[in-house]
């Protein structure tokens, strides 16, 4: 393949720093699980997980530097189908009369 190599713009150290950041995120998730935040425990865990996922998509998957619109379309379609999974599942969970 003779495609443009967008990911050469970042140094190895940059990716190591991102990786360390992700590990810190994991440690924070584990730490937060031991603090009783009531209903906010899952909210905090999901917030950290979402931030980590965004970092992975933007940097490790090189979406931030991708010049092609197609890359954006691929990422958006992934999130679109995830949204379908969550929203239609919630159509069940939120309307169960026996909850």
């Amino acid at each position: 393949m003779s495609e443009h190599e967008e990911h050469t713009t970042h140094s190895q150290g940059f990716y190591i720093a991102i990786g360390v950041g992700l590990l810190i995120g994991t440690a924070t998730t584990v730490g937060a699980a031991f603090v009783n935040l009531g209903p906010f425990n899952p909210v905090v865990a999901l917030l950290i997980a979402t931030i980590k996922a965004i970092v992975v998509v933007l940097f490790f998957m090189h979406v931030k530097d991708a010049s092609e619109k197609l890359a954006g379309a691929v990422v958006l379609s992934g999130f679109f189908f995830l949204a379908i999974l969550i929203s239609l599942s919630l159509a069940d969970y939120l309307t169960r009369s026996w909850r």
Partner: protein, 548 residues
């Protein structure tokens, strides 16, 4: 054979089959055509393995008593039948064999975008296949192919984790194939081959690939969650640990219903090619048929909970999913109506591939219409987990997918092997398949409707007549499936040598040699014509495929 004499100016050229004969040249190949042949051998093996389990099921159900095997053994037999047929045959069969072989050639490319990933996907499939075979030989699994929790996570002591790993690995094979197809179709089309000139087989495989890439990771994660709950007792699906067993079904069917479209869409693409060629007409409403593939892929993601109407989902959700399930009937009907409209005033030839295409249309229509019955909540509640459902999905998966696959195999066999198959035997086997299929599965509609549940190894004596018919049909069907394997193998050595375009068909794959050279074309073709330009192609001699 006298007709197999090759004229001097047509001496055997270097092609993908004779370009290296060592085992290494096959096992380390990156040629998409050779990988397709590797897949052909592998999926055929698994098809006959899955078929063996099907025959055991039918033999057990020949009599009302559970006399051939124990109940637990029967559970394992239908589970292995389902797992092998779904994950190791139906999902890969058309994309990995016909898609792999044809997509680059049909778009005028030298290979897929990532040839080594293509080989990797075959190896992953094989690793998954070895694992599932190991599971089969060392005790099997008894959950059904659906791995329903909490039975799979808590109660059964069969090899869930290993079987899940096999499916997980085969799933990545599927993802890689889909990814390869998407990139190839976007980036490697020949000059002039715009999206609205693409063969419909390409459109349907493109739509399939979207489902493979977007859906398969979900089932992979779901299987990991089953393993995590089973091994580490983390509460995900078990209510006692704070989980929800219905969540498993949501996650599982989010992939596994679209998986039906992974199976059927490529076969629909095959049928479009066959109908156009053997009716000598451009497909009626080409753009609608093309876009209906994408619509099926998208709508297919919105209907999963119709598998769960009696599983405890809310009535509100059931109504939404019932309505959405009807919507997927629209693009499916667009295809069926447009195929039949294409036949109108067509110059129809009843060659074997066309017989399979006709079989597909009839059987898929019955499978699809009974699907609409099952999307209706009231009927579904009545027939859930009965043989009505079994008959419905076999009409779609076997009557649809396998008919399309066999039609495609006969159509492109001259291109794949460079040889013609015996037409008389092929027509006979098509007849066996059609008659055997209907005799096997139509009685199951009645059995289910009058209340015979699926997945039981005993049944009340009043159901025996229909079960005997079904088992008799299965034996005819088995002959119908064995015959093509025998005469395809026979034709490799004794079949008349095929011309480059024995069907006088449109499409770039018929403009290269049979079998094609390693890089498909001597020169990159430039496309200046619309798809299915049959009005510009003479169809002389079509009745008797050219042998030289």
């Amino acid at each position: 054979m006298a007709s197999a004499v090759i004229p001097a100016n047509q001496a055997p050229k270097l092609n993908y089959l004779n370009n290296g004969h060592s085992l290494r040249s096959w096992l380390l190949t990156t040629d998409h055509k050779r990988i397709a042949v590797l897949y052909l051998i592998s999926v055929t093996t698994f098809f006959f393995l899955g078929g063996f389990f099907a025959m055991l099921i039918r033999l057990e159900l020949l009599t009302p008593q559970g006399d051939l095997m124990q109940a637990d053994t029967y559970n394992k037999v239908f589970t292995m039948h389902g797992m092998i047929m779904v994950f190791f045959f139906l999902i890969p069969v058309v994309p990995a064999v016909l898609g792999n072989f044809l997509i680059p050639i049909m778009i005028g490319a030298k290979d897929l975008a990532f040839p080594r990933i293509n080989l990797l996907s075959w190896y992953l499939y094989i690793i998954g296949g070895i694992l599932i075979t190991h599971v089969m030989l060392t005790g099997g699994v008894d959950t059904g192919w659906t791995f329903y929790a909490p039975f799979s996570t808590e109660y059964t002591n069969t090899k869930i984790v290993e079987a899940g790993l096999a499916v997980f690995i085969a799933g990545f094979s599927s993802i890689f194939t889909g990814l390869n197809f998407i990139v190839t179709i976007h980036r490697m089309r020949a000059p002039g081959l715009t999206w609205d000139r693409l063969p419909l087989f390409i459109w349907s495989n493109y739509a399939t690939s979207l489902v493979m890439v977007l859906g398969t990771p979900v089932v992979a994660i779901t299987i990991v969650l089953v393993a995590v709950e089973r091994l580490f007792h983390l509460g995900i699906f078990d209510p006692r640990l704070g989980g929800d067993p219905v969540l498993f079904q949501h996650l599982f069917w989010f992939y596994s219903h679209p998986a039906v479209y992974i199976m059927i869409l490529p076969s629909m693409g095959v049928v479009s090619e066959l109908i156009a060629c053997f009716a000598r007409k451009r497909i009626f409403g080409y753009k609608f048929v093309a876009l209906s593939s994408v619509a099926i892929a998208v709508f297919g993601f919105l209907v999963w909970a119709h598998h769960m109407f009696v599983a405890g989902i809310s009535l509100y959700a059931a109504m939404i999913f019932s309505f959405l399930s009807f919507s997927v009937g629209v693009p499916s009907a667009v295809k069926v109506f447009n195929w039949t409209a294409t036949l109108y005033k067509g110059s129809i030839t009843y060659a074997t591939p066309m017989l399979y295409a006709f079989g597909f249309i009839g059987l898929f229509t019955m499978g699809g219409l009974t699907g609409l019955m099952l999307a209706t909540i009231g009927i579904d509640v009545h027939v859930t987990d009965t043989y009505f459902v079994v008959a419905h999905f076999h009409y779609v998966m076997v009557g649809g997918v396998l008919m399309g696959y066999l039609g495609g195999m006969h159509f492109w066999w001259p291109k794949i092997s460079g040889r013609m198959y015996p037409e008389g035997w092929a027509k006979l086997s098509a007849l066996f398949v059609f008659v055997g299929f209907n005799l096997t599965f139509f009685p199951q509609f009645i059995l289910g409707y009058v209340g015979m549940p699926r997945r039981y190894w005993q049944y009340p004596p009043e159901f025996q007549v229909l079960n005997v018919l079904s088992t008799a049909g299965a034996s005819i069907l088995a002959v119908g499936y064995l015959l093509p394997m025998i005469y395809f193998l026979w034709s490799l050595r004794y079949g008349p040598i095929a011309s480059d375009n024995p069907w006088h068909a449109a499409g770039l794959e018929w403009k290269t040699t049979s079998p094609p050279p390693t890089f498909n074309f001597e020169e990159t073709p430039v496309v200046t014509w619309e798809a299915y330009n049959y009005d510009e192609i003479p169809d002389k001699e079509l009745e008797a495929p050219v042998a030289r």
